[in-house]
Amino acid sequence: MSALAAILAHPAVWRGDRLGGVATPGLATGFPALDAELPGGGWPTAALTEILPQHEGIGELRLLGPVLAGLSAQRRTLVWIAPPYVPYAPALQAGGIDLSRLIVVKTRSPKQTLWAIEQALRSNACGAVLAWPERIAWPELRRLQLATEGGRALAVLFRPARAAADASPAALRMSLHTHAGGLAARILKRRGAVLDKPLLLPLQPVVKRNMAAPRNHVVDRPQLPAPAPRIVPAGIIPL
C-alpha cells in the first residue's frame, strides 16, 4: 500500500478527480471563477491554449485583456501573429496594454504563420504569443505544443468553433459563446477532471450605461423647417 502511495505522490501521476499539477503557476485571468477551474490558477504558461469563439466579436479578445495588460506592464513582449483584422491601437491602449511591448506579425501563407508561431515560441523572448492560424492539423499542433514547453510564454491559438470536434494536444481548450447577453466559456479540455457546466465571465461592457442610447434609436431626424426670411427694418442699411 505504501508503494502505491509513493507512486501516486509522483508528480507525473495525475488522478482523474482533481486538477493536474503544473510546474509553473498560471497567469491570473482576471476572472476569479475561471482561475478556480484552471490548473495552476490561471492561463497556463509553457503550454498551448486554444480558444474557440462561436462568433467573432463576442469578447474573445476582451477575455485576454487583463492578462495581456499585466504582461505588458511587466515589460514582457506580446506578439500577435496573423491577426484577421487590424488590431486597433486606440482600443488596445484604452484596455491598458502598453503598445510599446506589442508586435504584429503579418504572414502571407498558412505555412509562414506556423513558422512564425514556432519561431516566437522557441525564441523564449515573448511574454505572450497570440495567433490566428488559418488551418492547422494535429502534427502541427503537436509541434507547437512541444515548442511551448521549453519556454515560459502564454501561447494562445484562436481557432474556429468547428475545430472543437477535432483532437488537439493543447493543454487547455476553451470554447466561447454568448449566454444571456454575456460571455460564457466551456472548458473542452484541461489538465484535470471534465467540467461540464459553462462558466459565466463578467466582461467589462463595451459601453457604459450612461452612454448607451435606447435600442432601435431613430437615426434620421425629421427635416427641420426652413429658417424664416430675414426681415430688415426700413431705414437701416444692412451690413
Binding site: Q54, H55, E56, G57, I58, G59, E60, L61, R62, Q74, R75, R76, T77, P83, P84, Y85, V86, P87, Y88, A89, P90, A91, L92, Q93, A94, G95, D98, L99, S100, L102, I103, V104, V105, K106, T107, R108, Q112, W115, A116, Q119, A120, S123, N124, A125, C126, T178, G181, G182, L183, V206, V207, M211, A212, A213, R215, N216, H217, V219, D220
Partner: protein
C-alpha cells in the same frame, strides 16, 4: 616532374594549376580576418601570414586560446593552416613553412628549434640552395655551423641576415597590414550552383571573415549585402538587415540562411560575394551583475530579425495611436519600442477592418449575416479630412447582433449613403 609523367605514375592524380593571384587574395582575406587577434598582422608572400601576438596574450586568454581560435576560424573559412609560434617572426615563419608546429618562447631555444629544419625552407635563390646541397649542408643547423665569413663570401650577405633575424640577432622591420575601410570578399564556385540553400556553406566562410574583420575594428554592421553572381544574368542582391549592430558570425549565418531559403535562383550562381559598407562602432557588451529574468531584449531583437528576414521588413511592426479623428487613420504601424503617449478615447473596437464592409439595409436598419442589428450606443459623428482628399462624413454606432457579438458600424452621410461595418469589439 611534368604532369604527363606524374599522371603516368599515378593514373588517379587530380591536378590543378597554381593560381598566384588567387593565393594573394586569399592571404589578404585571412589577414582581414586575423586583425581581431592583433593589429600587427603582416603578409609574407606568397602564402604566409605573420601575427605578432605577444601583446594580445593576456587579453585573449593565453596562447592556447589564440591558436585554437585561429585554427577554428581558418577551418570555418575553408583553409588548413600550419601554425608555429616563436620569439622571432623569421623563426616562426621557417618553422611553419617546414610544417613543424612548434610553439615555444625564449630566444635560447631558437637555435635548437630551427637547426633540424631543411635548408629548402630558407628564402633564397635556387642557385644558393643547390650549392648548399652540393657541399653537404642539408639542414639549417649545418649552415649555422659553417664559418660566417665563408658563407658571406659564397652565398651573399642576404642568407646570413636571414639567419640572424631568425636567431633574434638582427631586428626585423615589417610593414603591417591595414584593413580596408569597407568589407568586400567573394568566393568563386567551381560549378554553377542552382540550389539557393547550397550557397550557405560558401556564404558562411565569408561571414566568418566578416566577423573577424569587425572584431579587429571593434565594430559591427547593421546590414550587409549578399551578392550572388551569375554567368550571364544580372547578379541577385540580397540585403540582410539586423535590428541592432552586431558582429556574430552565427547570427549573420542564421539570417543569411533565412534569406537564401526564401530566394529562388534565376540562373546558376558562380560567385558569392559579401559586401558591408556601413561599419558602425560597437561598444563592448556588458553583462549585468544581476541578470533581469523579465528583460528579454537580446533574444527579442534576434526574433524580430529572423521574422523580418523571412517574411519581409514590413510584415513585423509595432502599433501606435495617432491623434486623428478618422478611425482608419487613428493608428499607425511603427517600429517596436516606439514611445507612445496616452490618448483619452471614446469606446473603440479592438479589431478594425482595413476596408469597411458594406451591410445590407432593410427598412433603414442595418443587417449583418441575415439578422437585424440593434443599435446600443451612438451616434458619434466623425466628419473630418476635407483638406487632404480623404473626406469622411459618418455617424458611428455600436451595434449588437442577436447572438451578442458587438460591432462598430457607421452610416455613410455622403451619397449614396448606406451602412458599413468598420470594427469588431473582439
Amino acid at each position: 616532374m611534368s604532369i604527363a609523367a606524374a599522371c603516368a605514375l599515378a593514373p588517379d592524380l587530380l591536378y590543378r594549376q597554381r593560381d598566384a593571384a588567387a593565393e594573394a587574395v586569399a592571404c589578404a582575406q585571412i589577414a582581414n580576418w586575423a586583425v581581431q587577434f592583433t593589429p600587427a598582422v603582416s603578409l609574407q608572400p606568397p602564402r604566409g601570414l605573420l601575427l605578432e601576438i605577444e601583446g594580445s596574450l593576456r587579453t585573449l586568454g593565453g596562447i592556447g586560446n589564440i591558436l585554437e581560435a585561429i585554427r577554428r576560424g581558418a577551418a570555418d573559412m575553408g583553409y588548413t593552416v600550419s601554425l608555429a609560434c616563436a620569439p622571432t617572426v623569421c623563426a616562426a615563419w621557417l618553422l611553419a613553412r617546414a610544417g613543424s608546429e612548434r610553439i615555444f618562447a625564449g630566444r635560447r631555444a631558437i637555435r635548437d628549434a630551427i637547426s633540424p629544419l631543411p635548408v629548402s625552407v630558407l628564402d633564397c635563390e635556387p642557385r644558393v640552395s643547390e650549392t648548399l646541397a652540393a657541399i653537404g649542408a642539408r639542414t639549417i643547423g649545418d649552415v649555422l655551423d659553417l664559418p660566417r665569413d665563408g658563407v658571406a663570401r659564397r652565398f651573399g650577405q642576404a642568407l646570413l641576415d636571414q639567419l640572424d633575424r631568425a636567431l633574434g640577432e638582427q631586428p626585423e622591420a615589417r610593414v603591417f597590414f591595414t584593413a580596408p575601410p569597407r568589407f568586400d570578399a567573394a568566393v568563386e564556385l567551381e560549378h554553377g550552383v542552382t540550389q539557393a540553400e547550397a550557397l550557405l556553406f560558401p556564404a558562411r566562410r565569408l561571414l566568418t571573415q566578416l566577423a573577424g574583420y569587425l572584431a579587429g575594428r571593434c565594430a559591427g554592421v547593421q546590414q550587409f549585402k549578399l551578392v550572388l553572381e551569375h554567368e550571364d544574368a544580372p547578379a541577385t542582391v540580397l540585403d540582410v538587415g539586423l535590428s541592432a549592430p552586431s558582429r556574430e558570425a552565427g547570427r549573420f549565418t542564421l539570417l543569411a540562411r533565412e534569406r537564401l531559403a526564401a530566394t529562388s535562383l534565376a540562373a546558376p550562381v558562380i560567385k558569392v560575394r559579401i559586401e558591408a559598407g556601413e561599419i558602425l562602432m560597437l561598444a563592448g557588451e556588458t553583462g549585468g551583475l544581476f541578470p533581469d529574468p523579465a528583460a528579454d531584449a537580446g533574444d527579442w531583437a534576434r526574433l524580430v530579425e529572423r521574422l523580418q528576414a523571412r517574411l519581409g521588413t514590413n510584415a513585423v511592426h509595432g502599433l501606435a495611436p495617432r491623434a486623428e479623428h478618422r478611425p482608419e487613420r487613428a493608428w499607425q504601424a511603427t517600429a517596436r519600442g516606439h514611445r507612445i503617449e496616452p490618448v483619452a478615447r471614446r469606446p473603440r473596437p479592438l479589431w478594425l477592418l482595413e476596408q469597411p464592409r458594406p451591410l445590407a439595409e432593410v427598412d433603414s436598419k442595418p443587417r449583418y449575416r441575415d439578422s437585424v442589428l440593434s443599435l446600443i450606443a451612438g451616434p458619434e459623428r466623425i466628419e473630418s479630412g476635407w483638406w487632404d482628399g480623404a473626406d469622411v462624413k459618418r455617424d458611428y454606432f455600436i451595434a449588437q447582433t442577436p447572438d451578442s457579438a458587438t460591432l462598430w458600424i457607421y452610416r455613410e452621410r455622403r451619397r449614396p449613403g448606406g451602412w458599413y461595418l468598420h470594427g469588431i469589439f473582439g
